[in-house]
Amino acid sequence: MSKIDPILLSVYARTFKSITDEMSISVEKTTRSPILCEAKDFVTGLYDAEGRMLEQTENLPILAFSLAPVCKYIIEYFKGDIHPGDVIFHNDVFSMGNQNNDVAVYKPVFFEGRLVAWVAVKGHQADIGGAVPGGYNPNAKEVWQEALRIPPVKVYEKGRFRKDVWDLIFANIRFEIVQHDLRAQMGACTVGERRMVELLRKYGVAHYQAHKKALFKATRKMMEAEIANIPNGTYHGEGYIYYDGHNLGSKYTIRVTIEVRDKSIKFDYSKTDRETNGFVNGTFTSSASATLLTLLQMVNPDIPHNEGMVQPIEIVIPAGTVLNASYPKATTFGNHLCPPNADAIIRALASVMPERVTAGWNNLLCSLTTGTDLEKGEKYVDIGFMGLKGGSGAMKGTDGYDHIGMIDASGGVLDQDYEMFEQTTPHLLLKHEYIPDSAGPGRWRGGLGVETVFRIGSDDTQVVTFGDGDFEPAFGLFGGGNGTLNIIKLIYPDGHEVIPRNKDLITGVPKGTVYFQQAGGGGGYGDPRQRDRKTLAREVRDGVISSDAARKLYGLDRAATE
């Protein structure tokens, strides 16, 4: 039995983190789809032999908390038929996957002949087959209209490449770039495997096992202490989904009941509305990820992300609700149910955690353009990451972040680099700037929204929209005001304008069409008339708050005359 060394405990925790960080850098530097290498829509993770989380690098947290459940599923699925040199792919939402496009690569780590750990990388692929390039199909009613399902499958077995399996998968995926990017994900797994073996060589398996256990225990204690800070009680909150992609005017409600009992917390979604007939449905792991990441934003940010962190948390989401669709429903929109889910949790806890909650965040409204780059003669897919990011909600003592994007990414998504954007798509970017007066006013204001305009450079382009935030703005708290709404608009070369619905598929968009998007601001916190006057004056001079708004909403004149 190894003695637990407090300094080494910290070395282990930090080494796990540095391994997943290094894997993350590897993915970022070796993938080609801008969704991965520029926007970092991927997660890397390290798990023990039983599939329990050791650490993760959560560039986009909504993907993150499905990796450990899938790892456990894979272990059970192969029942010991796991060997050095195996590489396993998985995306299936009906075996704990979170979204069809998010394809995970798992690699077992062996040391001295024993399975000791797993490394994994999950990333959003540029295409995953199905009816619509890029994977977002607002018309889908079943999973097969959305994507190729990949239950656990070995693409390498004992180090031998399974060409037949590989070809079967990629015969069903449109773009070659996906092959390159999944190879990059495999490469990052090898990086992680190598580092993990180095660590074990240094300290030995018994030492690692003992310290791992101690780490889980210490982390669990940290999380329990955070939960103990929340007053015991039962709290209710609601969040709203507008339009299911089929029935105009439809609206669904997420209802959460949060029970805090000393050191444990339970999120119960049993009263949430039923699933939809379209693709606006969550999977259990996408919804549970949303719950976890929202909670993580309200507690000590230094808690390590391992099994111990999740132990005191219980999440109940009955199958058949809009947050946990039944087989074989369509679910691609599921990740984007995080914003209304977070809204529900914030509303439930605001009164008991006024110092820790944020006001409402701008809900995601996103688009995906696909077409053929005429100059290069290649197909491309672009999720306009710089366009979709609105402001976050303000918090007591702190303004919201400007143009930070959806709460499901927790601000972890990089903006596209303009010059890279134009080198990798046929579009010409015309504008990318903050929107004045978009922030929800408050003593602490919401984050600013952003305006993005580009000219589409491909012919016969297809634009898919998916999201919310065009009906209900990000809400203010404790006297703070709402942010502005989202909008997407297409201005055709002949001058006519089309405003797509928030879940829509527009085909045949001609070259030269101007794409216009505003992502709205976040909600404000506290009475705007109490906003610091010096800050306000600077914001008026900088043009992010108009003098009109400063007078009307913030009462600038009155303060100045007093």
């Binding site: 972040y401 994007g405 134009e422």
Partner: protein, 693 residues
Amino acid sequence: MTRRLRIAVDVGGTFTDATLTDPETGRVVSAKTLTTPDDLARGVVDGIAAALAAAGARPDEVREVVHGSTTGTNALIERTGAKVALLTTEGFRDVLEIGRIMRPQAGLYDFSVDLPMPLVPRHLRLEVRERLDAEGRVLVPLDEASVVAAAEVCRREGVEAVAVCFLFSFLNPEHEERAGAILERLLPRVPIGLSCRVCPEIREYERSSTTVMNAYLTPIMGAYLDRLQRRLEAELGSIRLSVIQSNGGSTSVETARRLAVTTVNSGPAGGVVAAAYYGRRHARDRLVSVDMGGTSFDIGLVENGTSATTTEGSFQDLPVRIPIIDLHIIGAGGGSIAWRDAGGALNVGPRSAGAEPGPACYGRGGTQPTVTDANLVLGRLSPDYFNGGRMGLDVGAARTVVGRLAAELGIGLEETALGIVKVVNANMVKGIAAITILRGIDVRDFSLLSFGGAGGVHAVDLGRALSMREIIVPPLPGTFSAVGLLVTDRRHDYVTALGGIQADQADLASLERHYARMEAQAVAELKGQGFGRDAMILTRIADLKVTGQTYELSLPLPRQSPFDAAGLKALVKAFGALYRERYAFFFEGEPIELVNLRLTALGHNPSLELMRHPGGRADPSAARKGERPVYFEGGGFIPSAVYERNRLCPGMAVAGPAVIEEETSSTLVPPDATAQVLDDLGLAVPMDAGGRP
């Protein structure tokens, strides 16, 4: 008499250190004077005079002054740089503020983390109508009227420097150059910085950030360097003035003035260069170097005998796309002020009493307790031998201010002083962990190389807390950074952006011409600075990427020249190997692109040979100069031997409790430790392997 002496001057927040070397004899002499914040150049001149006096040398024997400057660093920390305007392509006014990522990864779930304010406020970010496409072709011609309008805003607002960064200017500088010419005409006294000259590389945010930071520092650095050069010429006659850069190499005043951004953090960079040098000398290739001065605590890492540089670094959380030495700097030093927070807890720093007024014991009007005051109360510093006895320390003043804090906290005087030391130690341990343990580096395999005037007193405590294998305090620790300034080479970096050329379709003759052009420029610049051709080391470097990916890898050409078919083949092969090493796999057989060509030019300086002292007996009693009570945790005041470092001989072993004093520093040896004296009078304190599994 020939001019042969080289003097390094490192300006810190509290002290200015001058170190003089005579390349013919290998003699090294150091002096420490107070930094003069109102006029830093005066302090530099004072320091040089003190070093010359200590060496018994004359001003006309000085050949070169190598300068490590904090001017740029301080301007960034205190936000006292120039009022800058930024001209951007129309539609992209916010690029500098939006950046690429909205907040640090560490703050992913922490919404109280503030973003750094951009160096140019929004109302001075001005849009110009113009546009190039992704190939560098003109889509919208430059609208000169909008440049004129921007110039008018700059004039009205009293802007002191202008940065220009247009989209795709790294492929075609035409619009930036023309806008620059118009601005120079309309704003004749305002320095204009163009991104195509400061940082001609893809990625508009990093390019903007680097160009803006350069503009922000240009006026202040230019004025400072001019003043310094005039002063030095008046005092020393015709000498070569070199300025140390953040890449650890030195450069000319002209380059430093033009590329002010390259001087940020240059002093600390010199410290890491010195540490690597000292480590090589003693066959220690894994070091954590820590420099504890009056104001800051600078942490560097040496692995495989060298200090790592990065081109993806940042200063004060603002990215810079130039090669810099990887450093972590926290606010902790002898001058760090101790205070009681609202919750009643004891805190130390990051505020520092600096040089003016300095710690209370300096007797220059300081009224707040600092780390130095605490060390004095504990008997760890001598009141009579600080800075070689030239500065008396006032123990009474130290006891008064520490006593006042003790009363607030309701604990004893020594207890409070020890508390101050323990808190600042914990801050420093956390800082070291940030660039080692947090990156998965197990520091127990490393030696802690501790220098800076305040470092020797804390070194053993820090090493213990981190279970490091050994503590080393080099000779002349108080001025050790300056050694780095003396051992480093002149370094200039050049880059040519290609915009992505398929390797198998490259026009090799044209690439060879690019290299030849950069080489001609490098040779001319180094020659102009007095380096002979045989002292120059030119290295051709290329940035390559797999077609379709967005990030490149930088590597030296395996066959340096000429750049022909065989050279290209070797380069592509080496790229594959490097890629595989870094990312564990490679896209074999896929097309490769050349992104940038780089050239690094070194002008080699004579290397420094620290004097070796003759060995002696292990018994150090010959160097013992007395005894005084020193306070240790758990033991209270214990009678401790006091040694004079300059009287120690290699091979001696100094057992604790002891204090080893020298002019510019003191080293504390606790009761259960022993310091071994190295051949150059460096001190090594081996640690037991406590805590090892």
